[in-house]
Every structure is written in C-alpha cells, then in structure tokens.
Symmetry: C2
Subunit: 218 residues, 2 copies
C-alpha cells in the first residue's frame, strides 16, 4: 500500500523546501518508497476534519492503511524503521542516529524557528526590532558553534549518512540565506553535502513542482 502524506497547497516558503513535508519526502526518496501527496489549504488545516488527523493543525501527516501519524520526526523515524537506508544495522549506531534526530528537533531547531518566525509573529509588537533579532541570532550561534565543534572534519554526524543527518540538515538549512551557516564552514559544507544527495534533489523537485503549479508559474 502506498502511503499518503499531506503538504501545503501553497507553501509559504515559495518552493524552497522548508516546509516539513520535505523531510518526509526526502526520507521516502532515500529508501525508495513511492508515496502520494494530498494538498491542504490553510483553511482546511484548521478545520475539525483535518484536526481529527492532526490535532495541532499542521502538515505533514502520514496515512497508510489504518495507521495515521503526524510530527515529521515521528514519520521519518517510522519510515527509517521500516525500510533499509536511513538507520545503521548495528543497534548502538541505530540508537545514536535516533539521538541525532532528537537533537536536531529539540535542541537545534527551536532557536532557529524562533528567529525565523519573529518577523511574522512579533512584527508590530513593541519589543520587535534589530536588537531582538540579534539576540535570537546569537542564541542560534551557540548551538551552531557546538555542533560545528562536534562535527569537525567528518562527513556525517556518526559515520554513514542516517535519518539523524537528514533531520539535522533539514533543520540547519532553514538558515539558508541568513549568512549564519557560512560562519561555520564545516556546517555549510555539511548542509551542501545533504542537499547534493540524489534523494534530496528528487524530493526538492517534487515539492517545488507543487509550488510552481499552485502559483501558475510553469
């Protein structure tokens, strides 16, 4: 049975592959699993029918037969556990790859999302401005410096490419265009290494096609 995921009908990132369905698309491509996509509008995502599937009104969701999941981390882990290619066979290596997924989502991503959303959700608030943004950037730099030190000259976080790298690359590339990644050349190269993978490229093209179709820009 081919799983179906949900994605934005019209992604606010204009096809840059920053919406969280990209993580799941990339995972599917790495393991060679075909998938279908159901596009949802912002209005639909907040309605009761969608919230029965995703209580927080977010994308992506994953449906396969009578299994329904949400949270991109959980979906990528589910795919990784049921197909070869995203987790090492060695149990300790497997545990460490999963650890890096959690580190990406719970330690590295929150300050990046906070910085990314500030111009939208905080604009107009009395505190919003350059000082606030610098504060948020410095908080990101703490994590980038720590991660950069750990990665060193390695290609991936723990030997071979894994779901941990997939998630970390996706989290770090939210900083594309900010100039911050370039302050840590090994992290910039790490993200480029992830983006160069054929599976990433296929996933990226698939989500971009959705944006171009929605915008009529073909």
């Amino acid at each position: 049975m081919i799983p179906t995921i949900t994605a934005f009908e019209s992604s606010p990132d204009r096809g840059k592959g920053q919406a969280r369905d990209m993580r799941v698309r990339w995972a599917f491509e790495e393991v060679g699993q075909p998938y279908e996509v159901r596009l949802v509008s912002f209005r639909e995502m907040k309605e009761a029918a969608y919230r029965a599937l995703q209580p927080f009104g977010q994308i992506p969701t994953y449906q396969e037969g009578d299994l329904a999941l949400f949270e991109s981390g959980a979906i990528v882990l589910h795919i990784a556990q049921h197909h070869a290619g995203l987790l090492p066979d060695d149990p300790h290596g497997r545990a460490r790859a999963i650890m890096w997924m959690f580190a990406a989502l719970n330690t590295v991503e929150p300050p990046i999302v906070e910085h990314e959303q500030a111009p939208y959700v905080e604009r107009g608030q009395p505190w919003y401005g350059r000082e606030r943004l610098s504060f948020l950037e410095d908080r990101i730099r703490v994590r980038l410096a720590e991660l950069s030190r750990r990665l060193g000259d390695d290609g991936w976080l723990d030997g071979a490419f894994s779901a941990g790298d997939l998630m970390m690359v996706m989290v770090l590339r939210r900083l594309n265009g900010s100039g911050m990644l370039e302050e840590y050349p090994n992290l910039a190269a790490y993200v480029a290494r992830g983006e160069a993978r054929p599976a990433f490229q296929r996933a990226f093209a698939a989500q971009l096609a959705v944006f171009l179709a929605a915008s009529g820009d073909r």
Copy 2:
C-alpha cells in the same frame, strides 16, 4: 550492566523535578530498571571532557557499556524499546506512542520553554516585560487548547499509558505554578494522573533527595 545517567549537581528548579533527568528517571522506574546517577556541576558541563559526551553541554546523558546517548527524548525511547512497559506491543500503537513523544518535544515544549526562560535570559533586554510575557502565554494556550480538545475525557493520549504520555506529562508539568494548566481541567487532571503513578513518585523522590543533599537541607 547498570546504566549511568548524568544530572545537575544542584538543580536550578530546587528539586521540583523539572530538570530533564527526571524524564529518564521516571522511564527507568516504569520499567523497573535500576540506574546510577553521576552528578555534574554547571562548570563541568561546559568543559571539553563533558562535551565529548554531550556536545551541547546539557544533562542528561546515558551510558551503558560502550553506548553513550544524550537528548532525553532519545534516552527515554531507547529505554522504552529495550524494556516492556512504555510502548504497546501492537506496531501501530507503538508508532503512535512515539509520535506523541515527538509532539511533546517538538510542538508543545518549545513555547513552554521560551516562556519559562524569558525571565532569566530576556530580563534586562529592552523588550522584556508584561506584554512580552502575555504574548508568550497566549502562544502556549494555543497548544494547550488543541491538546485539551484531542485528549477529551480520555485518561491517556492513546489508550494505555505510554512513553508518549510520560513525555507529554513532563512537558506540561513545566507549567506547574503558572495557573495555565488549570484553565484546561482535563490537562490538569492528566498531569496529576501522571504524577500519581508510583514510578513517577519514586523518580521524583530520587531527584529531590539530590537537591536536599546538595542544599544541606536534610
């Protein structure tokens, strides 16, 4: 082999069980796995030796033989996967329990941590004040309302108690004392239900004993 975790030598929460070692202690207690604790000072956590174990300089870590893990989510999941008691046997139920762990850590926790840290990290910043705190509280309420609606009258998030509930209860109880949980009586009851579990009580007593010993208050 008995695993060893790290915890704060002197927890900033003064023994309220809010530090992330509590999640791991509770998981150990639920599955009946004895464990040892190595206490670390704030200074030690930022030194190179500790960062070799935990690149972000945080607690807890987990060591068992030659396996070393960090990130409370990854450690709890590792424990849950290797012992009975925290994940259902049914594969779909297992995937959903893991999904709730990710939802707790990646969707519900970030706005709570942001609000909790603001009085420490933002104090003295030009934007910090009542308005900023109200903004952060409202952001938390969005997630609480969504979770409250999903939980409804159920005892746990997906049938029997699981690692997903453990993590969600731990994340929600960061709000203890704020008055916000009480605005959603089913969530307040859910947290109380978690805290009433004998395994929670044993874990809580163990971390409190560390605080009392450190403070000389015995």
